[in-house]
Amino acid sequence: MNRVVVTGIGVVSPIGSTREKFWSGLVEARSGIGPITSIPTDRLNIRIAAEVRDFDPSQHFDPKRVGMLDRFSQFAVVAARAAVRDAQLDITEELALGAATIVGNGAGGVNTIDDSYFKLYGQNATRAHPLSIPRLMANAACSLISMDLGLKGPTFTIASACASGTHAIGQAFQMVRMGQAQVALAGGSEACITVGTIKGWEALRVMSADTCRPFSRTRSGLVLGEGAAMFVLEPRDHAVARGAPIYGELKGFGMSADANDITAIDPDGAARAIRAALTDAKINPDDVDYVNAHGTGTALNDKGETIALRKAFGDSAGRLAVSSSKAVLGHSLGAAGALEFAATTLAVHHQIIPPTANFEEPDPDCDLDYVPNTARNSPIETAMSSSFAFGGLNAVVVLSRA
C-alpha cells in the first residue's frame, strides 16, 4: 500500500481564493458572511450568506467557453488548476492516464436550474438554453476539470450532501493508497446561493438570520456558503522523488450511515465514522490533537457532534482542540468538507489551530475546547476533519504532519 500525501491545495472561498488569503482569513477569524449580493433578496427571509465575492469568471475562462460552466464548475476548475500549480505537478501523458478526478458536490448546477426554471415558469419562455443540461448535471464539475487538465483516469462525482467533499477526498485517498490511481485531484465544489435553494433552506427552519456561531450558547442556526477546494493527492514516494512540497500525510478514512433521521445528526452514527477513521489510521484517540468539526451552528448539530466526539474519544475528548470553520466560511454543503480539509491540512502544515469564530458564550451542552475566537500555536501531530450530512451520511478523514 502507498503512503498518500497532500502536495497541492487550491481554494475558491468567501474569504479569498488564494491559499494565503484563505489561511489568513481563518487564522484571523475574518468571517466571509455578509449580506447577499449575487441574487435578488426581496423574496427572502434570510438575506445573509458567505458568498465568493472576488470571483470574475472572465479572468479564468475563454468567453466562448464560459457559457458551458455553471458557477459550481467554474469554482471547481479554478480550484483544481490552483492545486496543480501549487503541487508543481507536471501532468505528462503517462501520468494523465492514471490521474483520478473525484469531486464532491451536493446540489449540482442549481444556478442553471434556477435560471432556467425562472424563465420557463416565471417568464413563460418556450425553450431552455441548449447548454442547460451539460451545465446543471452533477458530474459537470469533475468532467470539466478532467477536460481542462487533460486527466484521463477514474473520474466521477460523489454526492452525499454536506459530506460530499470529505467522501471524495477519502475515496481518492483509498484509490491512491491501493494503486488504483497514480495521482488524484480530489475535493468538492458548491454554488448554491440561489433564490430557490435559500427558500428551501428557510423552510427547514435551521437558518440563522444574523450569523453563524458554532458551539456558542447563543448560536442561532447555519448560514449558507459557497466555494470549492481541490487537492493533489499522490504517493509519498512519488512526491519525494519529484521534490514536491508536502503539506501532510493522509492516514485514515472512516464512513458510516445513521440509518435513522433524514436531517438530524445521530451521535452514534457520527461516532462510528470517527472510530472507523481512527482504526483505518491505526492510531489511538490520544494521538489526535485537533478536530476540524462539522460545527454547523445549529442547536442540534453542535450538541449532537459534541456527544459523538465524547463517545468516540472517551477520556481523550478532554485534550482535543475542536474548531469549526463555518463561522468564517459558512456552510457550503458539498464543498464544506473540502474547504474544511484545506483548513485542517494548513493547520497541520503551519502548526496553528484556526479558531471557532463568533464564539460568544459557552453552552453546557457543548463542553469541549472549541478554540474560541483566537488562533492557537500548538503542536499538531495528527488532525481530523469530519462531515455529518443530511441523510445521515458521515465521513471522517485523518491527516498527520508530513
Binding site: 423552510a203 427547514l204 427552519r205 435551521v206 436531517t263 438530524a264
Partner: protein, 110 residues
Amino acid sequence: MSDQHAAATRPAAIIDDVRAIVAKSLNIPVEQLTPQTRLDELGAESLDVIEIVFGLEEKFDITIPLKAEDASRLATADKSGGQDMPFSTVGDVAEMVEKLVAAKTAKAAQ
C-alpha cells in the same frame, strides 16, 4: 370568498382545519385528534412538526415562528433549555393559529 377568508372569519372552524392538517401530515384518522391530543404522543418527528407548521402557514397565510430545534423538542417532549414551547397539543396549535390570524386581520384592517 376563499376558504382562507371563511376560516379567518369563523375561528371555531380553525380547530377542524388544524385537526385535518395534523391528521394528513401524520397519516392518522382525523377522529383520533381532540384539542387535548399531544403531538409528541402521536409519534410526530421533528420534520412532521415542520411539515404541519408549513401546512398551517399555507392554509391560513400566516408566518409561524418556529426553529427546527423547537420542532425536535416538541416531537420528543423534551422541554429542556427552559424555552417556552409555542404549543404541545392540537388545541394549543389551534389557539396559536387563531391569534396569528386575528393579528393578520387586525393589521389588514388598519
